[in-house]
């Protein structure tokens, strides 16, 4: 979530990045991103 917040500040500015609605969306996205990235896959084939 820290990394996503840093990106949000860089792209949308401090004021927008601090708004509650965006904060909530950032936290929710960070949680699902973490979950997806935690899941191992293998063996690696020729996809995608």
């Amino acid at each position: 979530v820290t990394e996503l917040r840093r990106c949000a500040v860089a792209i949308y500015g401090e004021e927008r990045a601090a708004e509650i609605r965006l904060q909530t969306a950032l936290e929710s996205a960070a949680a699902v991103l973490w979950r997806v990235n935690q899941e191992p896959l293998g063996p690696v084939g020729d996809e995608p």
Binding site: A8, E19, R21, L22, T24, A25, L41, E47, P48
Partner: protein
């Protein structure tokens, strides 16, 4: 109306209306006028319609009547009115998706599903309320069962309109749970076919690889009738599947199905819905169905995370330019999630798609020994109007593209709100799904109309 059509016109299902119109027991003009009158009486409260097309609908109804009088061969849905969520393009009629910059957007041609239904003889009565671009900011539509509860979303107008008997059938769309959940909250049937089965040409996108055209109706037979007239490859839609097998209506099936009760869904539902599903499952078992406990083979948490990463990324790709072009025009949740979706790394999206393929294989295995999966449609009855509800039990089938259907299965005594069960089948097995659903429908109590209607 004659003696043989003692049912009020607004109570007719699409299948009944088609049959009675064809036999000339019901006039399409009278049916359209009855629904327009009902809209005048009830829709100021329900707010299911965003735009009626009364003049053209009546003109089409008169033409339908003349065709019957002259003995012209007519289509399977001749003279039957339908509605379309306001993300489906309609020729000559504004399609705005709840987005104010589109308030004057008039498409030149119909979305393909609308065009195909018209070719089958059906009459577009108007456009139905949607949450903005079919996302999760609540629309103005009211749940006809209770004013203080959401009708669900994003196909809120289509579901509430069908429940309130404002229209027998209406198109909706589902990216997470936007057909089945509002159907469940409003006490009607909601169906989405396999991904690629029905063309999306002319339907405004939210997330391309998840978006499905769906239907709100009051019977399984109506879903089958509509699908029979809209399925099939469309070379102009890149998501349409050229290799899909034919959809063949199987009206003969009446044997009890084999159903797999999904463990992860039961664990995720509230005690109210879990108890309800168990009671319904017992009823089915006593009537001859064979029930098995099955597992998705993946955690629901992972399935939903993969869905969410996919949806956020694709939503951002669909909307970021519009967001810059029309600053301030997007609803707050849509705007925030598009902004966040833009920040997600590409490698995570690709990883999610690889996981998605694994999940699809797991769900195929889950369905190997049964005709359909059985699970609650939603985790609970309709919540308050500040939300459109929880997508977690509908989204798995949007992610993998399997067909799914929800049936109203009772009314909760304490809340006075509809309860619903969901069935899902393997890709392209809509006929098998409808067979199982029709059998289940016959075992369930008849769903009453909502108090408002």
């Amino acid at each position: 109306m004659t003696e043989s059509t003692a049912t009020a016109l607004h109570e007719l299902t699409a299948s009944d209306a088609a049959r009675l119109i064809r036999s000339r027991h019901v006039s399409p003009v009278e049916l359209v006028q009855a629904l327009l009158d009902r809209a005048s009486a009830l829709d100021p409260h329900v707010q299911a319609w965003v735009r009626l097309d009364a003049d053209r609908a009546l003109e089409a109804a008169r033409a339908s009547e003349q065709a019957l009088a002259s003995g012209t061969e007519v289509g399977p849905l001749h003279g039957v009115p339908f509605g379309a969520k306001d993300i489906f393009d309609s020729a000559g009629l504004v399609t705005a998706a709840g987005f104010s910059p589109y308030a004057s957007r008039v498409p030149a041609r119909d979305a393909e599903p609308v065009a195909r239904l018209k070719t089958a003889g059906a009459i577009l009565l108007g456009k139905m309320e949607t949450t903005q671009f079919a996302y999760s900011d609540p629309s103005r539509t009211r749940n006809p069962w209770r004013d203080d509860r959401t009708p669900g979303g994003s196909s809120s107008g289509s579901a509430a309109g069908v429940a309130a008997r404002l229209i027998p059938i209406a198109f909706g769309s589902q990216t997470a749970g936007s057909v089945l959940r509002p159907a469940a909250y409003n006490g009607v049937v909601g169906f989405k076919p396999s991904y690629g089965r029905v063309s999306k040409r002319g339907v405004l996108p939210l997330a391309w690889s998840l978006d499905h055209v769906g239907l709100l109706a009051r019977s399984v037979a109506d879903c089958s009738l509509v699908l029979a007239n809209i399925w099939g490859y469309d070379p102009a839609d890149p998501h349409s599947d050229a290799s899909q097998p034919a959809f063949v209506v199987d009206e003969a099936r009446s044997s009890p199905p084999r159903l797999g009760v999904v463990r992860e869904a039961m664990e995720h539902a509230t005690p109210r819905l879990r108890d309800h599903l168990q009671a319904v499952a017992s009823r089915f078992e006593q009537a001859g169905a064979r029930l098995h406990e099955v597992s998705f083979g993946e955690t629901l948490e992972l399935i939903l995370a993969v869905h969410q990463v996919t949806m956020l990324t694709e939503m951002a790709a669909v909307h970021w330019q519009l967001l810059e072009q029309y600053p301030g025009a997007h609803q707050p949740r849509l705007r925030a999630n598009v902004e966040v979706g833009r920040l997600l790394p590409g490698v995570s999206y690709v990883h999610a798609q690889r996981l998605r393929r694994r999940i699809r294989q797991s769900l195929r295995r889950c369905l190997a020994e049964v005709d359909a999966l059985l699970l609650p449609t939603a985790v609970d009855v309709a919540p308050g109007r500040e939300t459109t509800g929880d997508t977690s039990l509908q989204a798995p089938f949007s992610l993998v593209g399997f067909p799914s259907i929800t049936l109203p299965s009772g009314v909760d005594d304490a809340e006075h709100l509809p309860l619903a069960i969901q069935l899902a089948a393997l890709p392209w097995q809509e006929a098998r799904l409808f067979g199982a659903a029709a059998w289940c429908e016959a075992q369930l109590p008849r769903m009453p109309a909502p108090p408002l209607a």
